[in-house]
């Protein structure tokens, strides 16, 4: 499947800029014969907030799902904290455990209460004592303004509340990087803001964030860089001011006109 499984030598380490927490080098991926990622190269520095946008089917979700190898790439290299990640690397679980991920459809564990959702990975992956895990869970629930729901089950919460629980769950792992895969796309309009507010607070605290989102107002406010993708390629990469005020390509202009006209 993968052609580029070179073990990381010291030489490889030396030529990397040290503060890239995520680095894609010519990454290619196919779904069957569909070339979903074409020569993707990008790097994310510690503390950076990246927003990836683009029309549906452009491969933007696939990019962030490759970071923790929920999807596997077939060519090129992906480095997380200087370690190359690939399908059958040793310690992939460890790498995943250090990356928080928030999904479009929340993906809370429906059979567990909110607080159990937050403690499960802490206890069984991070090996924290139950009491400490619960304290941590309550700390992060408070941070996403939802502490009073701790004993409820996900099915009893609104969409916005569920997504905030999902963010708290990811934070409990003490991640260095947070990935957001369209976190507000499944929410009712009046719940989008409560989730975005939490994400803005998180950004203000200096978290490294990679967000796939259609929320252009959020991108403007928070992003250090906006990456625009179309048909499996990175078409534009620019600061939000540049991207929104003076997009360089026709495709980006078309996309922005469609997204912003309402």
């Amino acid at each position: 499947m993968q052609q580029n499984h070179k073990p990381i030598s010291t030489a490889d380490r030396a030529d990397m800029s040290t503060d890239d927490v995520i680095r894609f080098e010519d990454v290619n991926k196919w779904f069957g014969t569909f070339h979903v990622l074409q020569n993707i190269s990008l790097s994310v520095k510690s503390g950076e907030k990246i927003v990836i946008c683009g029309p549906s089917g452009s491969g933007k979700s696939t990019v962030i799902r490759c970071v923790n190898q929920l999807e596997t790439h077939q060519m090129g290299r992906i480095l997380v904290n200087g370690r190359e990640v690939h399908e059958d690397m040793k310690g992939l679980e460890q790498v995943r455990a250090e990356i928080g991920m928030v999904f479009q459809s929340f993906n809370l564990y429906p059979h567990l209460s909110v607080v159990e959702n937050l403690t499960l990975a802490q206890i069984w992956v991070h090996k924290r004592p139950r009491k400490e895990a619960e304290e941590r869970a309550h700390h992060f629930l408070k941070r996403v303004h939802i502490e009073e729901q701790a004993r409820k089950f996900p099915g009893q919460l609104s969409g916005g509340q569920q997504q905030r629980v999902a963010i708290a769950r990811a934070l409990c792992a003490n991640p260095q990087i947070m990935l957001f895969d369209e976190p507000t796309s499944a929410l009712d309009p009046e719940m989008i803001k409560e989730v975005l507010d939490v994400m803005v607070e998180l950004a203000e605290d200096g978290m490294t964030m990679v967000c796939v989102t259609h929320e252009m107002a959020f991108a403007r406010k928070v992003a250090n860089r906006v990456i625009f993708m179309d048909q499996g390629q990175i078409v534009e990469e620019a600061s939000p001011e540049e991207f929104f005020n003076a997009p360089k390509t026709d495709r980006a202009r078309l996309f922005l006109s469609q997204v912003l006209q309402h």
């Binding site: 549906s56 923790n68 929920l70 679980e93 460890q94 995943r96 455990a97 250090e98 990356i99 991920m101 999904f103 459809s105 929340f106 993906n107 809370l108 564990y109 429906p110 059979h111 209460s113 499960l120 990975a121 069984w124 992956v125 991070h126 303004h145 939802i146 009073e148 729901q149 089950f153 996900p154 099915g155 009893q156 919460l157 609104s158 916005g160 509340q161 905030r164 769950r169 792992a173 507000t184 796309s185 309009p189 009046e190 719940m191 989008i192 803001k193 409560e194 975005l196 507010d197 259609h214 929320e215 252009m216 107002a217 469609q258 997204v259 912003l260 006209q261 309402h262």
Partner: protein, 391 residues
């Protein structure tokens, strides 16, 4: 989609107050409004609503009442009115009703088979111990389930075996050939249930495995056992298996039957559980994987608890079938409840039409009580495990 989301935030530039309120306690309690419409109650009203809501259903009610009038007196007379509670065959034949005297006289044998009378306390103790160790797990209020579970699965079977079989602590050995009746039914059914569930889980996981050898093995196993009748499996276990054993190595006949029952029902269970596994959304696997859980942790803590909950009706269905299929051990010369009743009926001291009917009704009631109890418990369990995510 995109446009809608954008416009949504744009339209609500600062709905902070509302949102903060929502972030707090779920929607505020409804303000004092009108009371709900009065519901009727009382027996007269119940009869009106359920039995005679309109002329068609009223007619049906009358027809059903008439059918009950035709059948119930006969049943009552047979089971109670003309029944013989004490006596012998002559009394039963004279009275014409059910011959409970027969059941009464054979009670010990129906319960324990040919287990020696002096040792029957061991059977009682075994099942009393089972109830003590399992009952606490059935009810949520009792703490320490983990320890009861560990005891029931790891320690209890050993104790049960030595209590029933003997050979230790001065307990005389009771060969399994002497076990029988309701006790044997329970032994076969319970070990079938306990064996088939973990086996079914492993087979179901194996059948969905990415590892080709494991997948092929599990698929072959399931399809092989699922496609033959249990009676064939039992017969094979009883007659054919010893031929493959090394010489001088014998496996107890009952044990072979237990293994056969567990393997057969494990294959059935695997397909039930596979259905549950397929119903779990991909997002659950992804969330667990992204959190850094490996395969087993993901399965044990995230996937299986949900999958098993979904298939509780299917599992109970298989369990009910296991209980009823225990009657098939008769084919390899073991006497379960039905087998021992049948043997009793044929006794020349009792042989009569009345005794035959009574025997079968009694055996049927024994199975019905077990299966119905199980079914009610599963309904209770489903309600209790419902966390509201699919309502």
């Amino acid at each position: 989609m995109t446009d809608r989301m954008l416009s949504a935030t744009a339209d609500h530039p600062d709905a902070n107050a509302v949102i903060r309120e929502r972030a707090g306690i779920l929607p505020p309690a409804p303000a004092q409004g009108r009371l709900p419409p009065r519901t009727h109650s009382g027996p007269v009203d119940w009869i009106h609503r359920n039995l005679f809501p309109d002329w068609r259903q009223g007619l049906l009610t009358i027809v059903v009442l008439y059918l009950l009038y035709l059948s119930m007196p006969g049943l009552y007379n047979w089971a109670i009115g003309n029944a013989t509670w004490v006596g012998d065959r002559a009394d039963c034949v004279a009275n014409g009703g059910a011959c409970w005297a027969f059941v009464n006289a054979r009670w010990g044998q129906f319960m324990y088979g040919f287990y020696p009378v002096a040792e029957r306390w061991r059977v009682d103790l075994t099942f009393a111990l089972l109830i003590v160790s399992v009952a606490p797990m059935l009810f949520p209020a009792i703490p320490g389930k983990r320890w009861f579970l560990a005891f029931s699965l790891l320690v209890y079977p050993v104790i049960a075996f030595f209590l029933l079989y003997g050979g230790v602590l001065g307990l005389p050995v009771v060969e399994t050939a002497r076990w029988g009746g309701f006790m044997l039914t329970l032994v076969v059914a319970i070990s079938g249930m306990v064996g088939s569930l973990p086996l079914g889980i492993l087979l179901a996981l194996g059948r969905r495995s990415k590892m080709t050898v494991i997948r092929l093995f599990c698929t072959t196993f399931i399809e092989l056992f699922r496609a033959v009748p249990l009676i064939t499996v039992l017969f094979m276990a009883s007659v054919m298996l010893p031929l493959f054993m090394p010489q001088g190595f014998t496996l107890d006949k009952l044990l072979r039957a237990l293994i056969g029952v567990a393997l057969f029902n494990g294959a059935l269970m695997a397909e039930v559980i596979r259905g549950g596994l397929q119903a779990i959304p991909r997002g659950q696997y992804e969330a667990a994987t992204a959190a850094g859980m490996g395969y087993w942790r993901m399965m044990i803590f995230v996937i299986l608890p949900q999958a098993l909950r979904i298939v509780i009706p299917g599992i109970v269905n298989t369990y009910v079938a296991i209980i009823k299929d225990t009657t098939l051990v008769l084919i390899i010369g073991l006497f379960d409840l039905l087998g021992i009743v049948q043997a009793g009926i044929a006794d020349s001291n009792w042989l009569s039409a009345s005794v035959t009917k009574t025997g079968y009704v009694f055996a049927g009631m024994g199975f019905w009580v077990l299966c119905f109890g199980l079914s009610r418990y599963s309904m209770y369990l489903e309600r209790r495990l419902n966390t509201g995510h699919n309502t």
